[in-house]
């Protein structure tokens, strides 16, 4: 046994224990991408650098073993910068999207690719459930949204974008269900002022979270501008009513015809545990409510929407004007996170924002690679769509056009997690050119070499498990690729170990098929 000091804590470990393990035993998890319990160290990613306190040198903790009297620091400003820089270098050659570009572009960050896959599989109910996690009014938005998602769709480079908006409308129209059961009421009460798209969304998600929500509006019916400012041919009242009803039926108390002035607002603040202001465009009246405002609207934190008044949050056009209803609808969802955090006694931070790798437009050679997961035909005609929308068959056909740009390992990617944690900026060290990405399929996994970080786990793993061909490093230096010897297929390279190596891969380069 040797004694080693980790961040000031002394711990006894067996001789030969890697510092990274010793740190873990002392309760400090040191990040690493290339270290693998089964295979041991390889010293490739260099994210596990820690500081040797004796000389302030950074050392890779996966490969250095604990020695008597050694003292290390596992995290400080310099180490964080090392990890951030290392991640930024890895990301500079990481060609892949985490979330699909459509989802990143969507102001509500709806999981569009997954919706498409559920529609394509005929699982319409599941699709609605998924959509409603982020969008409280899908049938409404499906009619009026300008669809920034479609502008970002990779399919545009192939022929034309997937008709995401119509598909969402289809999902909203197709089902009448109330997909989520609200949590039991916690006893805390939240007031939402303004029953436009933002207020409706906020009320919906807050109620689902177990807070008794009261929705105030000066009009007798909820809907705000959706009801008054949109051509009823585009958005029939019946569609709006149906979706508002699904929201109110969760238990939200709607108090219409209620004008609110500064005094009443003060009273609401006193009576409720939290308040969400979603009154639409800023009017002079609200300037007297005590907020710090700027010419365009109320001043609020970008992520949490918390205003200068404690426990009061503001969303939608009260912040700044936007024509897109999807924006307040997304903010309604996000503010529910903040309010819930606030009510749980935490600092409100809003919806957790995860790192997203992006690489821009497809290049010509990539079209065929992406089409491997899709169908070749152009957009399913939507001539009839404005009145009737897609039929089930049409929706399935259209949804199949989705290219599956989102990463399969999105929830299980160390590179993504660490990039978020160390606030890596993917474009800081962007290179002069990027390579064309390819996709290789076997019966059970997908291999996307340009997402690879060359950690060598798969190479070592296939060797250990005695694959006939296995994976090998091919080439050297920056141009090295991981591939199968003799141009054999990935299928034959990973005949025995496909799923094992896919699960061991720290990024989405190797991922198990859905």
């Amino acid at each position: 046994m040797v004694q080693i000091t980790i961040n000031g804590h002394k711990i006894n470990v067996d001789e030969g224990t890697p510092v990274i393990k010793a740190a873990e035993m002392a309760g400090f998890k040191v990040p690493s991408l290339c270290y693998n319990e089964e295979l041991g160290h390889f010293t490739s990613c260099m994210l596990c650098l820690v500081k040797d306190d004796s000389n302030s040198q950074l050392i890779p903790s996966c490969s250095v073993t604990a020695t008597e009297g050694m003292s290390v620091t596992t995290e400080d400003a310099e180490i964080r910068e090392a990890r951030q820089t290392g991640l930024e270098l890895l990301l500079s050659e990481h060609v892949g999207d985490c979330q699909g570009p459509c989802q990143v572009a969507c102001p509500a960050h709806m999981n569009i690719p997954q919706m498409n896959r559920l529609i394509a599989a005929g699982k319409f109910e599941a699709a609605l459930k998924l959509v409603k996690k982020d969008i409280a009014l899908p049938a409404v938005l499906g009619r009026i949204c300008p669809a920034p998602c479609e502008g970002a769709c990779h399919r545009r480079t192939v022929d034309s974008s997937v008709s995401i908006c119509l598909l969402k409308r289809f999902v909203g129209d197709e089902n009448d269900l109330y997909p989520f059961e609200p949590l039991p009421l916690s006893g805390k009460r939240v007031a939402v002022i303004g029953a436009g798209p933002g207020g409706l969304a906020a009320a919906y998600y807050l109620q689902l979270n177990g807070y008794q929500t009261v929705l105030f509006d000066k009009e007798s019916c909820a809907g705000g501008l959706l009801r008054t400012n949109i051509d009823p041919e585009l958005l029939p009242a019946s569609v709006l009513d149906k979706e508002i009803n699904t929201i109110l039926s969760t238990g939200v108390i709607f108090k219409g015809e209620t004008e609110i002035d500064a005094l009443f607002f003060q009273q609401i603040q006193n009576e409720y545990d939290a308040v969400v202001v979603a009154t639409g465009a800023l009017v002079d009246e609200i300037r007297n409510w005590g907020f710090i405002t700027h010419p365009k609207g109320i001043e609020a934190d970008r992520n949490s929407y918390e205003t200068s008044l404690k426990g009061v949050f503001a969303i939608g056009n009260t912040l700044r004007f936007s024509r897109m209803s999807v924006r307040p609808i997304g903010q309604g969802k996000e503010v529910a996170w903040s309010v819930s955090q606030y009510l749980a006694g935490e600092v409100p931070k809003g919806e957790p924002q995860l790192f997203n790798s992006r690489f821009g437009k497809l290049i010509y050679q990539e079209i065929s690679e992406y089409l491997k997961e899709s169908v070749p035909y152009n957009k399913v005609s939507s001539d009839q769509a404005n009145s009737n929308g897609y039929t089930q068959e049409e929706a399935i056909r259209e949804a199949l056009r989705c290219l599956h740009c989102d990463c399969r390992d999105i929830d299980n990617c160390k590179l993504r997690d660490l990039s978020g944690r160390y606030k890596a900026n993917q474009t800081r060290y962007a290179g002069n050119e990027r390579k064309a990405m390819t996709k290789h399929f076997t019966s059970s996994i997908v291999y996307e070499p340009l997402k690879c970080i060359k950690c060598g786990i798969c190479v070592r793993m296939t060797s250990k498990y005695q694959e006939k061909f296995g994976f090998s490093y091919i080439g050297r230096g920056f141009d090295v690729v991981i591939g199968v010897p003799f141009n054999e297929s990935v299928q034959s390279g990973l005949a025995l170990t496909a799923e094992i190596v896919a699960r061991a891969c720290p990024t989405g380069a190797l991922s198990v098929k859905d």
């Binding site: 010293t43 820089t85 270098l89 500079s92 002069n432 006939k468 050297r476 141009n487």
Partner: protein
């Protein structure tokens, strides 16, 4: 279909285990000129080596080719010395001559394949192009067609007279011919043939002798005439047709030879006609100098002791000059512990670059209790612009071997390896031959010189990977793996080759051992500075008047080397900087030329001793271009294992590429510094940790040049995208430039001032080179 039995016989000769992999691949490539997939599959089927290992190794080392190539390999050296003298323009001109499109490397006829190589070790002949085994020096971009034509002629006319051993009993004197790589490259073997023919047919009793490199590589080919009575004369830059004159001057056939005179002269005529000297304008001929005393005078040969005096493979001669005395003394007088003590006292530090104290390393290995240990001589010299190890291995094989035996005795190992890069075939050949001779003379093998000590040495040829100069990568390579370094500790001294304690020393370090042990340790410690003892061999090249191999006492200043040994800057230009230590080193500006050369001083300036490349730069050299050059080398040689080196060097290179192409952006320099800092701090091995040095040192001393590039200006005119060619009023309308221009960018106007069409101009420099009035200017 390839013949499987060929593969099978290679395998049965080399073995079936992992360690045989690189030798097997080398043999297959010798057979097929590349590695056919079918052959590799056969290897995997009939050995214990898996396909992934075969491809991993075959694609790692640059020696191996996985696709067929043309009949002849055209190698354009882009080492430092060649680079500063315009190698990239030479490369482009050859590509044009072979009519290669982007991405193509083999011409349509399939006859020639062109490739860039990092250093052919003929820096003083820069720029150098090698076609198969013929080396062309001082090539310019307008000579491409001539070189190809010359090579075609040579293929037809090759007159290979066999070396005939001359009886040395009755001699009038001796003719010494340098047979180091520079000399051979410059045509010394043709000279040797000419001399041999001459003396053979004239009946002159002159001994013809081959000597190793004397270090005056800027003067090659060298012929030294040593009459029995009279003064020694050294002729430099000799051509075969000069031999007649030279031989006649010194060895006039007297009376008894007169009858032979006619025959003799005929013979000379024959030589001239038979062996057409197709040497292009390779070497200026007219300057013949006597021994350049200042060149050698300031030097202190230890590793290169008796330079020019001894035939590399003549064991007797080595022994007559004190060879193996040290070994005998060690066996007779010293215990291993005593040897180590003496080495420690001598203060000698590793000559590979980092300067670790040799004695301490030996002690560490000797203390390991393991029954088996190994010793490795690191001859994987890969710096572009350094060729010390090559010269030592080629010219002083016994000295290196003697040092190794002493080391082996001291640390108690019985098995040693020479690891020599494959680009040095002559060194490999000489060492193999020297080892055989040593075996025959009981200097290698069992019970050496009756001491009871056994020591055997194998030769291992590296396959082209700069990173394998790093000892842990070198060991991986001998074990048959990709040259991935690993973290130290464990040091090889504790856990090295095959997991056993291993002593790895640089070739030059071994070459200094016999001097220390034979003479007194005191004598060695008197040379050099307090912390850097002894001498260091440098490859002096670049813009200096006299380049070559030099061995100087540590502590000599840069100024002394450049001015007193190198003869100052050539062509009257201004001394700007020296690049010392190759890709791991840095640039030291002329303002700091009084810096003494020792490990600490160089480190403190952001440079490094490195393995000893010393490239002198003048005011026409662009420092951003120099930094980009070195970084592109290390980037290309990065093994790719760790993030900071693999991606960090690439991103730094991206920025430098942009700067030298006028695409720099504000903030680039800061980003470059940040990347340099982290590549240094975060890389696993010495390659990555030192790769940013050339960038950091030029940023430190020449930041103004970087800033100028940010604004799209290259003051020296080296960065081609930032310059334009034009013709001044000095033009006399001779039309030479029109004839040379490969892209018809100059309109034919005899007797009138010519103009360059900038849209067509490819900036190949051909016009400027031929202009008789220097009317073509770059700006």
């Amino acid at each position: 279909m390839i013949e499987q039995n060929k593969i099978d016989s290679i395998i049965s000769e080399k073995g079936r285990t992992r360690t045989a992999l690189i030798p097997i691949l080398q043999a297959i490539q010798r057979e097929f000129n590349y590695l056919p997939e079918e052959a590799l599959r056969r290897v995997s089927e009939t050995t214990d080596i898996k396909p992934a290992e075969i491809i991993g190794v075959a694609s790692f080392y640059s020696q191996f080719r996985l696709a067929p190539v043309g009949q002849h390999m055209v190698r354009v050296c882009v080492g430092t010395a060649c680079h500063v003298k315009g190698a990239s323009q030479v490369y482009d001109s050859l590509r044009r001559a072979f009519k290669l499109k982007d991405g193509q490397h083999t011409d349509l006829s399939g006859k020639y394949t062109i490739e860039k190589v990092s250093c052919l070790g003929c820096c003083t002949l820069a720029p150098v192009v090698q076609i198969d085994h013929v080396t062309y020096g001082h090539v310019t971009s307008d000579k491409a067609d001539q070189i190809i034509k010359d090579f075609e002629n040579l293929k037809v006319n090759k007159n290979k007279s066999l070396f005939r051993k001359v009886d040395g009993t009755e001699i009038l004197g001796e003719i010494r011919i340098g047979l180091g790589s520079c000399c051979v490259a410059s045509g010394s073997s043709d000279i040797k043939d000419a001399v041999e023919n001459t003396i053979n047919q004239s009946g002159l009793q002159v001994k013809l002798k081959s000597v190793g490199c004397v270090g005056m590589c800027h003067q090659v080919p060298l012929v030294e005439i040593v009459p029995v009575n009279g003064e020694t004369t050294l002729y430099s830059k000799v051509k075969p047709e000069d031999i007649k004159q030279i031989v006649e001057n010194h060895f006039k056939p007297s009376g008894r030879f007169s009858r032979l005179k006619n025959k003799f002269l005929n013979a000379i005529e024959n030589i001239q006609t038979d062996q057409k000297w197709n040497g292009i304008e390779r070497y200026e001929l007219d300057i013949r100098e006597k021994h350049v005393s200042s060149f050698l005078g300031k030097q202190f040969p230890i590793a290169t002791e008796h330079r020019g005096l001894i035939n590399p493979l003549d064991l007797d001669e080595y022994q007559q000059h004190g060879g193996f005395l040290a070994l005998k003394k060690v066996f007779k007088e010293f215990t291993p512990t005593k040897v180590i003590e003496k080495i420690k006292t001598s203060g000698i530090r590793g000559r590979g670059g980092a300067g670790f104290p040799t004695g301490i390393k030996w002690e560490l290995v000797s203390k390991q209790t393991s029954e088996e240990k190994y010793l490795i001589c690191n001859g994987d010299e890969g710096d572009p612009g350094a060729f010390m190890d090559r010269m030592l291995l080629e010219s002083y094989p016994y000295r290196v071997i003697e040092g190794m035996i002493i080391a082996a005795y001291a640390v108690n190992t019985r098995e040693g390896y020479f690891y020599i890069r494959a680009e040095y075939p002559l060194a490999v050949k000489r060492i193999r031959a020297a080892l055989e001779i040593c075996k025959d003379n009981n200097l290698i093998g069992n019970n050496i010189l009756g001491s009871g000590f056994d020591f055997n040495v194998k030769v291992y040829e590296g396959a082209g990977a700069f990173v394998c100069g790093e000892e842990t990568a070198l060991i991986q390579s001998i074990e048959g793996n990709r040259g991935f370094p690993h973290l130290r500790p464990p040091f090889p001294a504790v856990k090295g080759l095959f997991g056993l304690p291993t002593l790895v020393n640089n070739t030059e370090t071994f070459a200094q051992i016999s001097f220390i042990m034979r003479d007194s340790v005191d004598r060695f410690t008197r040379i050099g500075t307090e912390k850097s003892k002894g001498t260091k061999v440098f490859a002096l090249a670049g813009k200096v008047a006299r380049g070559g191999l030099i061995e100087v006492p540590m502590g000599m200043t840069i100024r002394q080397i450049v001015e007193e040994i190198g003869g100052g800057i050539a062509n009257g230009r201004k001394f700007k900087a020296v690049q010392i230590g190759g890709p791991s080193g840095g640039c030291i500006p002329a303002s700091l030329q009084d810096t003494p050369i020792d490990y600490e001083s160089l480190n403190s300036l952001g440079a490094m001793m490195g393995s000893g490349g010393l490239i002198v730069l003048d005011d026409t050299d662009c420092m951003v271009d120099i930094a980009r050059f070195f970084l592109s080398f290390t980037q290309d040689e990065s093994c790719g294992k760790c993030t900071f080196c693999r991606v960090g060097t690439k991103r730094m290179l991206d920025i430098l590429d942009n700067l030298t192409q006028g695409k720099g952006k504000p903030g680039d320099l800061e980003k470059l510094e940040k990347l340099a800092e982290w590549t240094k701090k975060g890389s696993l091995c010495g390659l990555g940790r030192s790769a940013p040095n050339p960038v950091l040192s030029t940023l430190k001393y020449f930041r103004d040049e970087y800033e100028a590039h940010l604004n799209g200006v290259c003051q020296t005119g080296k960065c081609i995208p930032l310059i334009n060619y034009s013709i001044t009023d000095d033009c006399i309308g001779c039309t030479l430039c029109v004839q040379r221009c490969p892209v018809a960018a100059i309109h034919f106007q005899p007797h009138e001032k010519h103009m360059i069409n900038k849209d067509l101009c490819i900036k190949c420099d051909a016009c400027r080179q031929v202009c008789p009035t220097n009317a073509v200017v770059v700006g």
